[in-house]
Symmetry: C2
Subunit: 405 residues, 2 copies
């Protein structure tokens, strides 16, 4: 593999040629937090994205899918506090009007401006305040603005999420940066969230599309906080080529390194989202091996990751491995139960489908950790998958029992 | 339809020729509650059942499936406090030994004795105490014993559940009675629970099998408390003919009435289980109409019933209908979102996929009720389904975070 990569500080403005901003526009009445974010490339960038499959796709997502379909993007605007979902034609017109206002400020065309919204469903956007937010963001755009943008897109997230990597290839340096928000409604296809990714690599829209799709598969699509899929899930990626290096094509020597770094960034962001999932106190990695194929492993891992009973046991730190085996057993994947082995980190709690000889206190200690691994081997197959989930706490119920008030 | 039916007091001993008992045998160490139950027919009865599809089918379920396959049954023994699941060959031998001991006391053959267990997974049965429980139950068998049996099978249930109906047909009276336990791990295919049903009608094992299967489809398989399917779910039905009436066959004039009454009993029991689901404070009925077929309606209803976000909104009494529409939107069923209408009881909150004109306080009032209906119409099709779910409360998390200690 040509090239090396490592993590660096920063987010969407770590790559060259990007500016970002966050602005408080009281989109949710009475709110004083930053709630409008803008991430802009100095010049037109190749664009790719992955979007929710929910039938109730929010109007801004519909707008932004169109933008991505054209393959070029100058900027993405995100507001929190209102999802502009289930708002019909008015919602779509509001998304377009927002894009137009940003385009005016950036001397771009509206068709190059992505617009995303997250928050309450079924309420039309307060367009006067959105306009105010757009103008505020345009004024505040800065090469140091990533953290402000990361803060502005937060809803029930407790910490802003930004990450960046730097890739050293023959001719120089490439960077990839990202900001994202969770944190409820996180479930496969897609993980309910918004993630904006920037890179100064030169990549065609077509190649970027494949890269994003593949990376989403093994990151945002393999995590869950709850089992709900939102109407606004989106991953947007821009590549502006500002690093000044040769184009990265599928057959370029640096392609594998670029793909690995991008995927690692996505996985790290996915884990950060799960860890900050609503009410989450733990990040649990589910590793399944020994199935006939990767899909079967994913299905088993998902059943465990989605199980309310497993998730409450994770919360309580109760090594109730019966619930884990049980979830595997109803996942729909056929396997020989007498071949199942199960570990909590390094403690084997089941072997050959039966309780192993272990110390309860050892197993409990593993599950008290803020991060631990649940590992299942169900047979001799080569299939495998990794999934990330959170625990289910009192706090989750509190947050969601009365979200709107 | 020949015949009429109505609800009566009582449970499994309401029909003629049955005795039942409950006994405290400290199956869970230190417990003083009744934890062993026996339901016995005075003479050999036709038997049918429906069982969990979990790969980790508990050994007693495997045993009892064999019994049911033979079509005849004298009694069912149920212990709580230990599920005898993930216990391998030892578990199966223990189930058989239990059946043998009961058979000895009833002058029956072990092959006519069902044995079921519910409770913690992965611990072998304390056979000395099980034997004590069997003997205690045999001594206590009584025509008034239904309520004791109903109490003995409870785990985290808060109230014992017994129901009975009486059917008047040309020649006289037939009764059907039932006891059941929930209350976590309740999810379709099957609803995690144990239900024992008795009738003094004369019905062949083959006919009974069809009746039970059909009734389970529209009752226990259309409810959920959480999304987990247990290793012990079982419905057992005995028909001993003690009413002394003619055999009920599929072409008998009284067959439709018998089927209706049996189905109504199952549905009532399913609702009782959901209502007493772990931490449940509300019983929510999900009605979906307008799909192309019943299966699609069921899929949409299930997505809503399983949604953690919907269930926490139900708990909070928050009329956050966006979450309900959202769950319908990711259920996997294709429908025209611009045709969706949504009601909370009688309050229309969405019409044509958009917010309806309603008073927030009216909608909230409906959701504060201990029982309310969520009704969705998604189009012009004739498909429909009804599903029952509970809310997700702090108490659910508390109960399940540390179940074993």
């Amino acid at each position: 593999m040509t090239g090396t990569w490592h993590h660096i500080e920063g987010g969407v403005t770590a790559p060259k040629g990007y500016r970002a901003a966050g602005f408080a526009a009281a989109i949710k009445p009475g709110s004083t937090k930053k709630d409008c974010a803008l991430v802009a490339s100095d010049k037109s960038a190749a664009a790719a994205g992955a979007f929710t499959k929910n039938l109730f796709k929010a109007p801004p997502v519909q707008w932004t899918e169109q933008v991505v379909r054209h393959g070029r993007m100058r900027a993405v605007f995100v507001n929190s506090g209102n999802a502009n979902a289930c708002t019909g034609e008015q919602g779509f017109n509001d998304a377009r009007a927002t894009a137009e206002r940003i385009a005016g400020g950036l001397e771009a065309t509206p068709e190059e401006i992505g617009v995303l919204s997250t928050g309450v469903i079924g309420v039309t956007l307060p367009m006067d305040r959105i306009s105010n937010g757009v103008d505020g963001c345009l004024r505040a755009l800065s090469p140091e603005g990533s953290i402000d943008a990361a803060r502005a897109i937060m809803t029930t997230d407790t910490v802003p999420k930004e990450r960046a990597v730097e890739i050293h290839v023959g001719g120089g340096k490439i960077r990839i940066g990202a900001i994202a928000k969770g944190s409820g409604m996180i479930s496969p296809n897609m993980a309910t969230m918004i993630c904006v990714v920037t890179t100064d690599a030169k990549v065609s829209a077509r190649t970027l599309k494949t890269l994003v799709k593949d990376a989403v598969q093994v990151s945002f699509n393999q995590m869950c906080v709850d089992t709900d899929m939102s109407t606004s899930d989106s991953v947007i990626c821009m590549a502006n080529g500002a690093a000044g290096l040769a184009e990265i094509k599928p057959d370029s020597p640096e392609f594998p390194c670029f793909k690995t770094a991008l995927t690692a960034l996505f996985i790290e962001m996915a884990k950060a989202l799960v860890k900050d999932g609503e009410g989450a106190t733990k990040l649990v990695e589910i590793q399944v091996t020994g199935t006939n194929n990767d899909n079967d492993a994913k299905t088993i891992a998902r059943a465990i990751a989605n199980s309310q009973l497993c998730k409450t046991a994770f919360y309580g730190g109760d090594p109730n491995w019966g619930r884990i085996a049980c979830a595997a057993g109803y996942s729909g994947v056929k396997f020989d139960t007498s071949k199942l082995s199960l570990w909590l980190d390094d403690v084997m709690v089941m072997t050959q489908g039966m309780p192993a000889n272990y110390e309860e206190v050892q197993a409990a200690a593993r599950m008290k950790k803020p991060e631990f691994i649940v590992r299942l081997n169900v047979g001799d197959g080569t299939g495998q998958a990794t999934f990330w989930t959170s625990d289910l706490s009192y706090k989750y119920v509190e947050i969601n029992a009365d979200y709107r008030t």
